[in-house]
Structure formats: C-alpha cells, structure tokens
C-alpha cells in the first residue's frame, strides 16, 4: 500500500487553504494601501499629472 502523508501540503488541499488565507490578508492590506494616499498636498498632482 502506497504511503500517504497528511502533512504534505502538496498532496492535501493545504496549499489551497494557505493561498486563500494569504489572499484574504493581502486583500485587506491592498485596500488599506490604496485608501491612504502617501502624498496629500495638491502640488504633487500638478507636477506629475499629464496636463
């Protein structure tokens, strides 16, 4: 009988669960990163804007 290891994340769905958890955590971090602009002064907009 072939040996089956339940702790090998490649053989179980462990990797998928880890990916899902990282998606949720990184998703929250991304939203937070996008919601708090680093530069708040309007002069930076004029300097780098295409017009």
């Amino acid at each position: 009988m072939e040996f089956y290891s339940y702790v090998n994340i490649f053989e179980t769905k462990g990797l998928a669960y880890l990916l899902l958890m990282s998606f949720l955590v990184l998703g929250v971090l991304l939203i937070k990163y996008l919601s708090t602009p680093e530069k708040k002064d309007s002069t930076s907009v004029d300097r780098k804007s295409p017009h």
Binding site: F10, L15, L26, L30, P37, K39, V45, P50, H51
Partner: protein, 398 residues
C-alpha cells in the same frame, strides 16, 4: 404647404447638413494620416483578394488552425478591450458615482465602435461570410451552442450601445424631441447592456471549453469563462485610462477646464479599480493552478512563457497601479495601463494561437496580409471615432 413638401424640405436640409459635416476638417498631413491611409488602401486590396480568391490566398489558416490572428486579435482581444463601456455604465448608473459621468458618452462610443469593427471582422474570417446571418435567423444552427449565445449577444449589445449613444446623434442632427425620447431609454438600455456584457464576455471564453485537448493545460481551465469576464473588467478600465490620456491631448480644445481637472480624479479611481480587479484575477489564476496541480508544467518553455504572462503582465502592473494611486503618479499609471493591455492581448493570443494546438508539429504564424488587415480595421475605427468626436457633443465641454 402639405406635409410631404415639409418632409422633403427637411430631408434636403438634413442631407445638406450631412454633406457639410462629411467634409474633412483640420490638417491632412499628420503622422497618423501618413501611416493610416496607405495601410487602409493596402488592407482593402488584400480584402479584395480574400473575397475573390478565398481565405487561403491571404491567410495561413488551415484545418488545424481555424482560429487565426483575425479572430484572436479582433474578436477575442477587441471585445475584452471594449469592456470599459459596461464597467463605466455600471459605475455611473448603478453605483451612482457621478464623478465618472463625464466619460460615459466617449466610453460608450468607444465600445460601440469596437463592437462594430471587431465583431464585424468576423465577416472577414468566415469561409462563407454570407452564413453570418444563420444564428440570427435560426437557420441550421445549434441553439445550445455557445457561439449561438455569443452571436445573439453581440448583435443585441451593439443595438443597446447604439441606443445609449443615440441621444448624442439626435442632438448633433438637431432633433430635440427625438433626443428627449431616446434619453428616456438610456437607463433600461444600460441595465440590459450590463447583463449582456457580463454574459458574452464569459461566453467568448466558454467557446474554448470544447477545445480542452487542444489548449495547453496551463491555459486551459473549466474556469476560462470566469477568467475572461474578470480580465475584461481591468482590460476595459486600462483601455479607458490609455485612451483618455491620448484623447486629453489630441482633443484638448474640445474638453472644458472642469473636465480637465476632473480627469485626474477619474484616472485615480479607475486605477484603483484596476489594481483590485487584477489582484483578484491573479489569485484566481493561482487557485486554478494549484487546484489543477500544474507544478510539473512550470519547468518547461511553455511554463516560463506562462510566468511571463501572469507575473510580468498581471502581477507587476497590479502593483504599479497600486503604487501610482498611492503616490498620485500618473506616469506609472499610464505605463501600467499599457502593460495591462499588452497582457490581455498576450493572454488572448496564448489561448487562441500560441498555446492552441501546442502539441502539433506544424505551427501557425499570421501572414503579413493578416496583420495589415488587422491594422486596417484598427485605423478605420480610429478614423470614425475621430470624425464623431470632432462633430458631435461627445467630450464634456464643462
């Protein structure tokens, strides 16, 4: 004066107005004209041979490769890039985010022209083009096939986009009563349009479900419809950002100062939407990859090519969008939009051509005639877009 005489008088007046409007405006010797006019003429000559001598005379299509560059670029890619119109309509009319209202008309116009020209390019690709009417009239057609759904959706969606844009045409033609009536249809048309778009963007991907043995396992998945739908969202957004950056320079005299100022805010909002959608799309790809246990395929030439697409043209532009939004760096956002557009083109070409029939020794490469005709389609669309924008009230003058 009887009613017939009044009608004839009005018709003559409108024809005079139309002839006046058809006359070219602005300088002729521009870089775009110098490149586009010879390409359009060459494309028309190639199309003459295509329709008189058949597909084989100008294309490298074969029984093994029925989908070539015309379908892969014009239809598959063009439809994805036109996704911006349903995204903006959803944002403005359903989510009620009024700051995007100034770009609705130009985005709908872009979508309408993209569908007319790119799905219209199907006529060039069909061996017997007169059969294009078959799915519409139900003649010898499988009602359960995905292509049947896609054909009807393309037709209905083009009609819906025309209804959405028609108030601008009525305004241009000085028909105020008709304009008022057509405006009242807008909300209904928008709702139908969003529903149709979501279905046929995924439907285009669903067509590949029946080609499982032919597509490389890294690109084939039973979730192709979902991937096509999600990628059409950020493809459409990136197209809006890219086109907006060009339009704001080329048609700067037609845009009011208020809209010029609002453009920054719109670009930032769009870039934020693109970053989030690309992040979700990237994780969808990762889930599909792990669920399919495709690790062994990565260390192959196709695997490296897959990583170029997924990391180079999805993950990196996603981070660039995020960085651009946070730092209000419009240059980075513009580069990210170009990279995203290239990524979507690459993805559609991979599914349709490069990873299609990947295990067959004879490979398909588009002929130069196929490339010239594709360029012709793009240039003619830009000519029509330019004609409409310079004559109708498309860009916000506020």
């Amino acid at each position: 004066m009887n009613s017939t005489a009044v009608f004839n008088g009005e018709l003559k007046g409108f024809l005079r107005f139309l002839l006046q409007e058809l006359k070219p405006r602005g300088p002729w010797l521009t870089t775009f004209n110098i490149i586009s006019i010879p390409t359009i003429i060459a494309g028309l000559i190639i199309l003459y041979f295509r329709f008189t001598l058949g597909l084989g005379s100008v294309t490298n299509l074969s029984q093994q490769y029925p989908f070539g560059f015309w379908i892969g670029f014009d239809v598959m890619t063009g439809v994805a890039l036109a996704g911006g119109s349903y995204v903006v309509c959803f944002v403005v009319y359903v989510l009620r985010l009024e700051k995007y209202h100034s770009i609705v008309k130009v985005t709908v116009l872009n979508g309408l022209l993209a569908y007319i020209f790119y799905s219209g390019a199907l006529v060039l690709d069909l061996g017997r083009p007169w059969h294009i009417i078959n799915p519409i009239i139900g003649n010898s057609f499988g009602y359960n096939s995905v292509l049947f759904l896609v054909s009807w959706h393309f037709l209905l969606y083009m009609t819906v986009l025309f209804v959405e844009f028609s108030p601008t045409i009525a305004e241009w033609a000085h028909w105020p009563k008709l304009q008022k009536f057509l405006k009242s249809l807008t909300l209904g048309a928008v709702i139908i349009g969003i529903t149709l778009s979501m279905l046929h963007q995924s439907g285009v991907g669903a067509m590949f479900l029946m080609a499982k043995p032919k597509i490389h396992p890294l690109w084939y998945s039973e979730y192709i419809p979902l991937l096509y739908f999600v990628s059409s969202i950020f493809a459409g957004i990136s197209m809006i950002i890219f086109e907006g950056s060009i339009s704001s320079k080329v048609f700067s005299n037609l845009i009011g100062p208020k809209s010029h100022h609002a453009h920054h805010d719109i670009v930032l909002g769009m870039a934020k939407g693109a970053a989030i959608t690309m992040f979700v799309y990237y994780f969808f790809l990762a889930f599909i990859f792990m669920h399919g246990d495709k690790w062994k395929l990565i260390d192959t030439p196709y695997g490296y090519w897959y990583l170029v697409e997924v990391i180079g043209f999805v993950l990196i532009p996603c981070f660039m969008y995020a960085y651009g939004v946070r730092n209000k760096n419009f240059g980075v956002i513009k580069v990210a939009s170009i990279m995203t557009l290239l990524g979507v083109v690459l993805n559609r070409q991979n599914v349709c051509l490069i990873a299609y029939n990947w295990n067959v020794p004879v490979k398909y490469y588009p002929s130069w005639q196929e490339i010239v005709v594709t360029l012709m389609v793009v240039f003619v669309e830009i000519w029509v877009l330019r004609w409409i924008i310079t004559r109708m009230n498309v860009l916000s003058k506020e």
